[in-house]
Amino acid sequence: MSEHIIPTRTYYLIWISLMCLTVITAAVAFVDLGQFNTIVALSIATLKALLVVLFFMHLKYTNEKMSKVAVISALFWLVLLLALSLTDYGWRGAGAV
């Protein structure tokens, strides 16, 4: 049993999407959206990361469930790390270690 071979067209479409998103996120950085600058930039980054993981890294096509378990676990640990650290340090105020 060999891995699923994805048509080149899919790869080029993903590549063009990634390029467009990069140009959009760089352009939006010059527009003052207040708080939304951060939200838009990180949402676009997450969308780009998703495209890379699902298509370039074949996670969408793989039939190995353990790869998906590894990715979901890693994201869960990362969310734990960021959420718990920021709920603590984020509210202490500058330098109040």
Partner: protein, 230 residues
């Protein structure tokens, strides 16, 4: 495995190690190992991302002012270069899956060129920072780092640059390791070591390369973009 041992022996190449039942099991084991390694890498970079978010919240003005001293054009060009390298890697894995040796070698060399271009541009950015005295330490000069015309605290600005150099430095180190891996891959591919049944190293090095690309996809907005306008 329904075949007799002799038939199995003939069905696979010399790449199958004796402790695996069949090539598919060996491939799945290697793939799982790579994904687990990438999970540890997420935790490794996660620590630095976490530090960045905490300090950015504490020293918001200094981080915004320091972020604006970075060259957004070089950052954008580098993002585009990395995305192109990810495309050539993805197409390279596909070429390996189909057993196209020459195409694989060409795509691996293109990836190397993109990877080295990224490192070159990154080196230019770093050398600019050296000339501007934006390296944390006794030589640090916060004179040009201002937010809306007001000077900012030099000590807090140095925290931004410490994190900037730590994060882009660890990312660049991963790129350098990736370049070495791809040089070896190109050599093996040229020697014809990979075929439709066995291309695990190409696949796993590809996963590593895409992962390093994803790290940059997050470094780019955090370091260059989100504090441009405030």
């Amino acid at each position: 495995m329904s075949d007799s041992p002799v038939a199995v022996e003939q069905a696979h190449g010399p790449e199958l190690l004796h402790h695996f039942a069949d090539p598919e099991q060996q491939r799945a084991a290697a793939s799982l190992g790579m994904w687990l390694f990438l999970a540890t890498e997420i935790m490794f970079f996660g620590g630095m991302f976490c530090a960045y978010l905490v300090y950015r919240r504490w020293y918001f003005a200094e981080f915004a002012a320091s972020s604006r001293t970075l060259d957004i054009w070089l950052g954008t060009i580098n993002t585009i270069v990395l995305i192109c390298s990810s495309l050539t890697v993805a197409l390279g894995v596909r070429a390996a899956q189909m057993g196209k040796r020459k195409l694989l070698v060409v795509l691996l060399i293109l990836t190397l060129i993109f990877g080295l271009a990224f490192l070159g541009i990154k080196g230019k950015e770093w050398s600019d920072k050296f000339h501007e005295h934006h390296i944390p330490g006794p030589q640090f000069d916060a004179g040009e780092i201002q937010l809306n015309g007001h000077p900012v605290d030099a000590r807090s600005a140095q925290i931004f640059f410490s994190l900037y150099f730590a994060m882009t430095g660890m990312h660049a180190l991963h790129m350098i390791i990736g370049v070495f891996m791809f040089v070896i891959l190109t050599w093996y591919a040229w020697k014809g070591r990979f075929n439709q049944r066995y291309y695990t190293p190409v696949e796993n090095c590809g996963l590593y390369w895409h992962f390093v690309d994803i790290i940059w996809i997050y470094l780019f907005p955090l370091l260059y973009l989100i504090d441009r306008k405030k």
